[in-house]
């Protein structure tokens, strides 16, 4: 029995994503057959550079969400556990370690599996898990690993020349590693062109973020959790830019026509943290009560790219990277950020996901919840792993959601 776990989407543009994703994975397998170099990457590895050097990138966290959304994670996680990665380990990593080390024990992998890697690329600053996970894969697969580092910048955007210079040199090291692996020379012109597209796309995404403030909501998180995909995995391509142009047009159309997601919008919710990929229908759950999950903590573009484009594309990337942080890093910044979002997006209540295996986000949730309640904003904490559905109790989660809705409706 196939059970649909994906969220119900309302925008026609979002519906293009599954096709894009499928053809992206098919393309990676095809590229590999044709002898193109394949890199397994963590998020925040700049795919524009790889693309400019004709290297095929495969982003493992994304593949992990694909597995999880098909409710196959438990099989993959269990395989990862048999090779010694405990349940304390990030659900994504456990799955992929299962895939890498115990392939005979995992279920049939989605999209026909992954193209085998020639090398691995990981960023060191998002979390400890990624680094440990990629290092372990590099050792067990016997494939080279390059670590890309950057300052942590807990205070947010930095104007320090030392920080920018360090990232720039790190990016040049990445390029040097790729040149060595592929035997081809990096051409700045190719990257410059992609950077220009990335910048334009980022402006469009900023505009989309602004439009999502409208009441009734023109686009909820049920759509955004999917619609964000091209920006993460097709960055710097015209395909990506065109997608967001169409999405922007559709949002404008909905706002002009006052078309919301639910017939009569009674309350608006924000989702903080990673959703539970094996039951994305949960995002739609409040819609039956006139509610809408109108915003998620991740995919809000907070500002336009600041510095003007530098002629040297690597320098340009470095400057953009230090001057702009996608997520706030300290708890103080996170509290400010969520309170600001609640205000700007007319949010009535916040659902916070507690994923114990994603320590980086998990650690802040209690204090965020406290800060919101102190401001009189109702909250609900839900503790489940983001990928491993064995930890999920649907009945318990829905009881909590029902009580939360009762609280919001009583307040409305």
């Amino acid at each position: 029995m196939v059970q649909s776990t994906s969220a119900r989407k309302s925008l026609r543009t979002t519906l293009e994503v599954p096709t894009l994703r499928k053809s992206y994975y098919a393309q990676t397998l095809d590229d590999s057959k044709k002898g193109k170099k394949v890199a397994w990457c963590s998020n925040n590895i700049p795919s524009e550079i790889l693309d400019a050097m004709d290297i095929t990138s495969v982003f493992l966290e994304n593949y992990a969400t694909v597995i999880a959304s098909k409710r196959l994670a438990s099989g993959f996680c269990a395989a990862g556990e048999t090779v010694g990665f405990s349940q304390d380990v990030c659900g994504y990593a456990r799955m992929l370690m299962g895939y890498v080390l115990a392939r005979d024990k995992v279920p049939e992998p989605p999209y026909g599996g992954l193209a085998e890697p020639d090398f691995l690329l990981v960023n060191s600053y998002s979390c400890d898990s990624r680094l440990g996970w990629f290092a372990a894969m590099s050792r067990t697969l016997n494939v080279p690993l390059h670590v890309h580092d950057a300052p942590y910048q807990p205070e947010g955007p930095s104007h320090s020349a030392a920080d920018a210079e360090y990232i720039e040199r790190e990016l040049r090291s990445l390029v040097a590693f790729l040149e060595e692996q592929t035997g081809t020379k990096f051409e700045p012109d190719k990257l410059r062109a992609r950077r220009a597209i990335s910048r334009q796309t980022s402006d469009i995404m900023y505009e989309i973020s602004q439009l999502r403030k409208a009441v009734p909501s023109p686009m909820g998180s049920a759509d955004m959790f999917t619609a964000v995909w091209p920006s993460m995995y097709l960055a710097g391509t015209s395909e990506c830019e065109e997608f967001y142009n169409r999405l922007l047009a559709e949002l404008k159309e909905r706002i002009d026509g006052q078309i919301g997601i639910v017939p009569e919008e009674k309350f608006r919710i924000m989702w903080s943290g990673i959703p539970f990929w094996y039951d994305m229908r949960l995002i739609n759950y409040v819609e039956d009560f006139g509610g809408i999950v109108a915003l998620e903590s991740f995919y809000r573009t907070r500002e336009r790219r600041l510095p003007p484009q530098d002629d040297d594309p690597i320098k340009d990337m470095a400057l953009s990277s230090v001057r702009q942080r996608a997520f706030p890093s300290t708890i103080i910044a996170s509290i400010d950020d969520i309170l600001e979002a609640v205000k700007e997006y007319s949010i009535d209540g916040v659902i916070l996901s507690y994923n114990p295996s994603c320590r980086m986000l998990y650690v802040s949730q209690t204090e965020l919840q406290k800060a919101l309640e102190d401001q009189g904003i109702p909250t609900l904490g839900l503790e489940c792993d983001m990928a491993d559905e064995r930890t999920y109790s649907e009945g318990q989660v829905k009881t909590r959601l029902d009580a939360f809705v009762e609280r919001l409706l009583a307040k409305a």
Binding site: Y354, P356, T366, K370, E373, P378, G381, E383, T391, G395, Q396, T399, R400, D402, A403, E406, R407, A410
Partner: protein, 260 residues
Amino acid sequence: MITAGVDIGSSTSKAVILDDRQILSYSIISTSFESETSARKAVDQALSKVGQISQEDIRWIIATGYGRVIVTFANETVTELSCHARGANWLFPSVRTVLDMGGQDCKAIKCDDRGNLLNFVMNDKCAAGTGRFLEVMARVTELYLEDIGEFSLQADEVIKISSTCAVFGKSEVASLLRQGKKKTDILAGLHTAISNRVYTLLRRVGITPDFAITGGIAKNIGVVRRLEERSGLKVLLPDEPQIVGALGAALFAQDKLSNQ
């Protein structure tokens, strides 16, 4: 006006029948596999205690608890969080904080002067403060669940126990038993550990007097005493703490009818 509230919990099902604002009768039975059957049995049993009236006389039925959505004969459902707040506040109008300790869940609930749900915090995956945890511990110490609270108060010393997780707690207790520690002292340690964990939930929701405990574990005097010590507050205990959710549901049903 006769209404009923039926609360289908993970281990027990409860029903309360109200005539206006007066409790006519109630029942508590074990939850079987089928929530619907349990619900019907609970209501039938409560009805049988009254005589004269039958199910047709019940003007409105509200179901609550885990199994609430499966109770097809109910007119409406409300979550147990709202019901416990309403029920406890009706029994003790001064109550603003309710701790509901049931079979699977432990909830700290805040309500206003009319028993409206203001906020709640629930236990995480950890089973501390739930009936399930105490059941496991009763089994490991080979005692009856009903007795362990009383036993824990007869301790000479309180043995330190750190794990309130059912899995780790079990092995910790087993190892203490192997070392020849007294059951009463181990139980004192366990009850202290649970109370400490539960107290954290209360602090998170913000504990405002008066304070009542509902749910099956309210019958465990060991937990109640230690929570009183820890919070420095007198705990208000309903005569029958298990039916507070069902009572709240029946009260919501009364509200419904009087609003019509």
